[in-house]
C-alpha cells in the first residue's frame, strides 16, 4: 500500500523537530527567536498533520483506522501498533491545536533556556500523541511514562516559586499510580499467554480475552487508580493544584488541556472495556467520587484567592463531569464525556493562557490585586468573557454541549447522581462569574493596574483561535459528535454485553441497554444541536 503512515508521522514529527532543535547550538537572543519560530512551525505542521489524519478518517467505522503494525519484541508479543478511532482522533487534534497556542502564549514569558524549553514541549507533544494512538499496551505505557520527563522539566525549570515541590509531587503521584498499572499490564499479558499460548500486549487481542471477574477486579483497580490520579479524581487530586499553579503558562495549558485527558481517555479506552464486569461493579463508586469532585472542586475554586488555583480547582470539577459521563456508560454519557474532554481542553487551556497574560503584566495572580481591568484592556477582557462563559457552559458555547450530554446520560443511569452533579453547573457559574467580576469590573482600585497594555497581536493570535473553536464547538457539535459515535457505541455495547445485569442495578427506565444505544445514539446526536443552536 502506498498510503502514507499518517499516525507514525504524527508521533515522529515533533520528535524529529525536537532532535533538530537540540542540535542547534545554544545562543543569544537572535537564536532564541529562531528557536521559538522553529518550534511553533513544527507544532503547526503537527496540527496540519492531525487535520490531515482527520480528513482521511472514515466517520462511519467504529474500529481503529489507519492502523500500522510492526513487530517490536516478538518473543513477548509486543508490537508497535498505532491506530485512531473517533475518540482518539479528536484528542490528537486537540493536542495539535493546543501546543502551538501554548508555545505562542509563552513567547515572551520564557526567557531562559528557550531551546531546552522548546525541545521539551515538542517531545511532550510527541509522547502525548503517542499515548492517544497506541494500540499496544507496552507502547502505551512507554509513552505514558515517557511523557512525565518533559513535563517534569517544564514545571521544575520554568515554573514559579514552588516549582520543584510541584514537579516532584507531580511525577511521584503519577508514577505511584502507573507502576501498579504496569504490574496489571504484565499480568494481563501473562494471562493472555496462559490462555492462548502466546504473549500479547495488543489492545484488540486483550479485548477478546475473557477474564474471570475476580481477576478483573484487581486489574481494573490497578488501571483505574493510575488513571484516577491522572484525571484527577477526587481523593487523588492533590497534586493538581500545585502542578497547575507552579507550572509555566505553557505547562499549565498542556497539563490541563491534554494531560488530564489521558486519565479519562485511559478509563474510557482501557479500564472500562478491558475489564467490563469489574468496571460495572465499580462504576457507581467512581461516579460518586466524580460527583464529590464536581461539587468539592467547585466549592474550593470559589474561595481561591489565586486565579491560577481557581482555574486548577475548576478542572477538578470539570473532569468530574467527564468521569461521571464515562461511568454512566451509555451513548450520551460517553459522547458527552469525550466532548467535555475537548471542551475543557479548549476553555481551560484558554483560561490558563489569559491568566498567564495577566500574570506576565502584573507578576501576580491574586484576584485581589486586580479589579476594573475592563477599563484598562477592553479587548483582553472581552476574550476573557467569552472563555469564562464557555467554561461555565453557556448554551451556544462548547461547554454546554458536553455538560448537557453528560447530565442526560447520567440521568438515564442514576437521576440522583445527575441531580447532584447538576449543582456543579450552578456552582461553576458562581465561582467563574464572581471571579470575573472581581477581576474585570468595578473601578480600577489598584494603581498598578492603570496603563496596562491591552491584548497585542501575538496574544490575539493565541486567543482568537481558542474563542473561535469554543463558538464553533458550541454551535456545530455534530461535526465532532458524528465521527465519534461509532467508536462510542462500540465501547458502550461491549460494556452492555459484558454486564447485562447493569440494567437491573441501574434505576434507569430503559428496557435493556443492549438494544438502546443504537436507537438513542441517533436521537442523542441529532437532537443535541437543537436546544443550543438558536440561543
Amino acid at each position: 500500500m502506498a498510503v502514507a503512515p499518517v499516525l507514525t508521522i504524527l508521533i515522529a514529527l515533533p520528535l524529529a523537530a525536537a532532535a533538530l532543535l537540540a542540535a542547534v547550538p545554544d545562543g543569544g537572543g537572535r537564536r532564541d527567536a529562531f528557536v521559538r519560530r522553529f518550534a511553533l512551525g513544527a507544532s503547526l505542521a503537527e496540527l496540519a498533520a492531525a487535520l490531515w489524519a482527520w480528513s482521511r478518517f472514515d466517520a462511519s467505522q467504529p474500529g481503529f483506522q489507519m492502523v500500522e503494525r510492526a513487530d517490536w519484541i516478538p518473543s513477548f508479543g509486543i508490537q508497535y501498533a498505532v491506530g485512531v478511532d473517533g475518540i482518539s482522533l479528536f484528542l490528537v487534534v486537540l493536542t495539535g491545536f493546543l501546543t502551538p497556542l501554548a508555545l505562542l502564549g509563552s513567547w515572551r514569558s520564557v526567557h531562559k533556556k528557550v531551546k531546552a524549553f522548546s525541545v521539551f514541549m515538542l517531545v511532550l507533544e510527541s509522547a502525548m500523541v503517542g499515548v492517544f494512538l497506541a494500540l499496544d499496551m507496552f507502547l502505551f505505557y512507554v509513552f505514558w511514562d515517557a511523557m512525565l520527563i518533559p513535563m517534569y522539566f517544564l514545571i521544575g525549570v520554568w515554573g514559579y516559586e514552588r516549582r520543584v515541590y510541584a514537579a516532584v509531587k507531580f511525577i511521584l503521584f503519577t508514577m505511584a499510580g502507573s507502576v501498579l498499572m504496569l504490574v496489571a499490564i504484565l499480568t494481563v499479558a501473562y494471562l493472555h499467554s496462559a490462555a492462548t499460548g502466546a504473549y500479547s500486549f495488543g489492545y484488540e487481542a486483550w479485548l477478546r480475552l475473557a477474564l474471570p471477574k475476580g481477576t478483573q477486579v484487581w486489574l481494573f483497580l490497578a488501571f483505574a487508580v493510575a488513571f484516577a490520579i491522572k484525571v484527577p479524581l477526587f481523593p487523588f487530586h492533590t497534586w493538581l493544584p500545585d502542578a497547575h499553579v507552579e507550572a509555566p503558562t505553557a505547562g499549565s495549558v498542556i497539563l490541563a488541556g491534554v494531560l488530564l485527558k489521558m486519565g479519562t481517555y485511559g478509563l474510557l479506552r482501557f479500564a472500562f472495556p478491558l475489564f467490563p464486569q469489574a468496571a460495572a461493579e465499580f462504576a457507581p463508586a467512581l461516579a460518586v467520587l466524580a460527583v464529590v469532585g464536581i461539587v468539592y472542586g467547585a466549592l474550593v475554586a470559589m474561595v481561591q484567592p489565586d486565579l491560577k488555583k481557581l482555574v486548577a480547582y475548576s478542572s477538578v470539577s470539570h473532569l468530574g463531569f467527564v468521569v461521571l459521563g464515562i461511568a454512566a456508560m451509555n451513548v450520551q454519557g460517553v459522547q458527552g464525556a469525550v466532548y467535555q474532554m475537548l471542551n475543557h481542553g479548549v476553555s481551560t487551556g484558554a483560561l490558563f493562557l489569559i491568566v498567564g497574560m495577566l500574570s506576565d503584566r502584573r507578576h501576580t495572580r491574586l484576584i485581589a490585586e486586580f479589579g476594573g481591568l475592563k477599563h484598562v484592556m477592553p479587548r483582553l477582557v472581552a476574550a476573557f468573557f467569552v472563555i469564562t462563559l464557555s467554561s461555565i457552559g453557556l448554551p451556544g458555547l462548547n461547554g454546554f454541549v458536553g455538560e448537557f450530554l453528560i447530565l442526560l446520560g447520567a440521568f438515564r443511569w442514576n437521576p440522583w447522581l445527575a441531580a447532584a452533579a447538576a449543582s456543579g453547573v450552578i456552582l461553576s457559574a458562581v465561582y467563574m462569574l464572581w471571579m470575573f467580576q472581581r477581576v474585570n469590573y468595578g473601578s480600577v482600585t489598584n494603581p498598578k493596574n492603570e496603563g496596562l497594555p491591552d491584548m497585542d497581536r501575538r496574544e490575539g493570535w493565541v486567543l482568537v483561535p481558542a474563542i473561535a473553536m469554543a463558538v464553533f464547538m458550541g454551535v456545530a457539535p455534530w461535526v465532532f459528535l458524528r465521527p465519534m459515535t461509532p467508536a462510542v457505541e462500540r465501547i458502550v455495547s461491549r460494556m452492555a454485553e459484558a454486564e447485562p445485569a447493569r440494567a437491573g442495578t441501574a434505576p434507569g427506565r430503559e428496557p435493556g441497554p443492549a438494544d438502546v444505544p443504537a436507537a438513542l445514539a441517533v436521537t442523542g446526536v441529532e437532537e443535541e444541536p437543537g436546544p443550543s443552536g438558536p440561543r
Binding site: D145, Y152, F153, V179, Y190
Partner: protein
C-alpha cells in the same frame, strides 16, 4: 588426537580469562620497567587484553568449550563475560583522566583492574564450587586493594579495611558451604552436586540445607543483599569513583552468574527451600536500598544504596527462577552496567581534589556550568529510575515480567513501588542540577575538562541506553537464546 591439541582444546574455555590475565601481567611488568616520571599508556595494554577477550568470547559463542571439567564457556557465561569486558573497557576509558588527577599508581591500578576482571570472568564460566571460590577470591582481593588505592586518604583505608574484614568473613562462609556440599555429594562439581540434590529432593536433609544456607550467605554478601550489605556504602564511598563504578557493576554481574548456576541449576530442585529466603532478601534489599537512599546527601553513597536496590531487582528475577528470569538477569546486567558505570564516570569526571563534587549541594546549578555532563548524568539517572525510552525501563519490565510469570506478585508490586521511591532520590539530583537556583558563591571553581575519549564513551553509553530502550529486541533475544542453550 595428539596430546598437544588436547591441551589446546582443554584450555579453550578459558581463553578470554587468559587474555585478561596476560594483560594484567603486562600492566604490572610495564609498571615495573617504567622509569620514574615516564608516561606510559598502561591502560592501552588493558584495552588490548580486553579486545582479545571480547573477540575470543565471540568466537567461542555457541561452542560450549570446556576447561578441565571445572569451567564451561557456554553462551550464558560468555554473555556475562562480554558484559564484563564492556564494563572493563568503559572503566579504563573513564579512568585515564581520574587516575592522573587523583594521583593513583597507574600500573597497580590497571593491573588490579585486569586481575579483578579475570577473576570475575572465570567466575562467570566456572562449573565447580572450588573454582567459583577461587575466582571469587581473585577478584575480591583485587577489589580490596583497589578500594584502598588512595593511600593518603584516611577514609579510603578505613573503607578498604571494612570491606576486607567483612569480605573475608563471607568468603569463609562460602568455603564452609563448599565443604558441606563436598561432604554430602563427594564432589565440588556442580553437575554432581545437582545429581545428588536431585536424588535427595524434595526432602534435602538438614546438612544440605546448611550447605545451601552458607553458600547463599556468601553470594548475598557479594551482591550486597540486605542484611549483608553493610560494607557497601562505606566501600563505595571510600573507593576512587571510577573503581566504585567498576565494582558496583562488575561484581554483581559475576556474582549473579555464579549465583544462577549454583542455585537455579545445582540447587534447582530445592527451590521450595531457598525461595522464601531469596524472597525475603529481595524484598528487604529493594526496600532498604531505595528508602535509605532517599536520605543520603553524598552522591556516591546515594548511588551505593541505589545499586543495593538494583541488586534487589536482580534477586526478584532470580526468585522467579525460570528461563525468563535468567534472561531478564542477563539483560538487566547489561543495562545496569552501562548506566551505573556511566553515572559514576560523570561523578569521577566532575570531582577533583581541589573542588570536590560529591555532595548533593555541589551539583546545584550544574546545568549552567556543564550542560553536557549534567545532561549525561540526567540520562543515566532517569534510566536507573526506569523511565522510558531509556533502557532501564525495559530492564525493569523484563524483571517484573519474570516475576509475574512466576506468580510472584508481591515481589513485582514491592519492586515497582520501591522503584518509585528510588525515583525520588534520582530526581533530587536532577532537581539540584537543573532546577535549584545557582550557587550563592560568585564564581565556583572551574570544572575539569572532559577528555575526548571519555566524552565519546559517554555519548556511546547514552546511545546504547537509547538503543536498548527503544529497540531492545536483539539483545533480549540473544539473552533468551543464551539462557535457553544452557539450562
Amino acid at each position: 588426537m595428539s596430546s598437544v591439541s588436547t591441551i589446546g582444546q582443554v584450555l579453550n574455555g578459558i581463553v578470554p580469562v587468559m587474555c585478561v590475565t596476560l594483560a594484567g601481567i603486562a600492566c604490572m611488568l610495564a609498571e615495573a620497567f617504567r622509569r620514574r616520571g615516564e608516561r606510559m599508556p598502561i591502560g592501552g595494554l588493558g584495552l588490548i587484553g580486553l579486545a582479545g577477550a571480547g573477540a575470543s568470547a565471540v568466537l567461542l559463542w555457541g561452542r560450549r568449550a570446556g576447561c578441565l571439567g571445572v569451567a564451561e564457556a557456554d553462551d550464558f557465561g560468555l554473555f556475562v563475560q562480554l558484559v564484563l569486558v564492556g564494563i572493563g573497557v568503559l572503566t579504563i576509558v573513564f579512568s585515564s583522566d581520574a587516575v592522573e588527577r587523583e594521583g593513583l599508581p597507574a600500573g597497580e591500578y590497571y593491573a588490579l583492574t585486569m586481575f579483578a576482571l579475570a577473576g570475575m570472568m572465570l567466575m562467570a564460566v566456572a562449573t565447580d564450587l572450588l573454582v567459583i571460590f577461587l575466582a571469587l577470591e581473585v577478584f575480591s582481593l583485587a577489589l580490596y586493594a583497589m578500594t584502598g588505592l588512595r593511600r593518603r586518604v584516611y577514609a579510603s583505608a578505613e573503607g578498604a579495611f571494612k570491606y576486607f574484614i567483612l569480605g573475608g568473613f563471607s568468603s569463609a562462609f562460602f568455603l564452609y558451604g563448599v565443604a558441606f556440599a563436598f561432604g554430602l555429594s563427594g564432589s565440588t562439581h556442580l553437575d554432581r552436586l545437582a545429581a545428588h540434590v536431585q536424588a535427595h529432593a524434595p526432602a534435602g536433609g538438614l546438612l544440605l540445607l546448611v550447605a545451601m544456607g552458607l553458600l547463599l550467605a556468601g553470594f548475598a554478601f557479594k551482591v550486597a543483599a540486605v542484611p549483608f550489605h553493610m560494607w557497601t556504602p562505606d566501600a563505595y564511598e571510600s573507593a576512587p569513583t571510577v573503581v566504585t563504578g567498576f565494582m558496583s557493576t562488575a561484581v554483581k554481574a559475576a556474582a549473579f552468574a555464579a549465583f544462577i548456576r549454583v542455585f537455579l541449576h545445582a540447587f534447582g530442585p530445592l527451590r521450595a527451600d531457598w525461595l522464601p529466603v531469596v524472597w525475603v532478601l529481595a524484598i528487604c534489599t529493594m526496600i532498604l536500598g531505595s528508602v535509605v537512599g532517599v536520605v543520603q546527601v553524598n552522591l556516591k553513597r546515594m548511588l551505593a544504596y541505589s545499586s543495593i536496590a538494583h541488586g534487589g531487582y536482580l534477586l526478584v528475577a532470580l526468585a522467579s527462577g525460570d528461563e525468563v528470569g535468567r534472561a531478564a538477569i542477563l539483560f538487566y546486567l547489561v543495562v545496569y552496567a552501562v548506566t551505573n558505570v556511566g553515572a559514576f564516570a560523570v561523578i569521577a569526571l566532575l570531582d577533583s581534589r581541589e573542588a570536590p563534587m560529591l555532595t548533593l549541594d555541589d551539583y546545584r546549578g550544574l546545568w549552567h556550568r556543564s550542560p553536557f555532563l549534567s545532561g549525561m548524568l540526567a540520562v543515566f539517572l532517569l534510566s536507573l529510575g526506569g523511565f522510558p525510552p531509556f533502557a532501564g525501563f525495559v530492564a525493569k519490565w523484563y524483571v517484573f515480567t519474570a516475576a509475574v510469570r512466576a506468580d510472584q506478585y508481591a515481589l513485582a508490586i514491592v519492586g515497582v513501588l520501591t522503584s518509585v521511591v528510588s525515583v525520588f532520590f534520582y530526581l533530587r539530583i536532577i532537581v539540584m542540577m537543573y532546577m535549584a537556583d545557582k550557587a550563592a558563591e560568585a564564581a565556583p571553581a572551574a570544572l575539569p575538562r572532559v577528555p575526548k575519549p571519555a566524552a565519546a564513551a559517554l555519548w556511546l553509553s547514552v546511545a546504547a541506553l537509547l538503543y536498548l530502550g527503544v529497540l531492545p529486541t536483539r539483545v533480549v533475544e540473544i539473552a533468551a537464546r543464551a539462557v535457553a542453550s544452557v539450562f
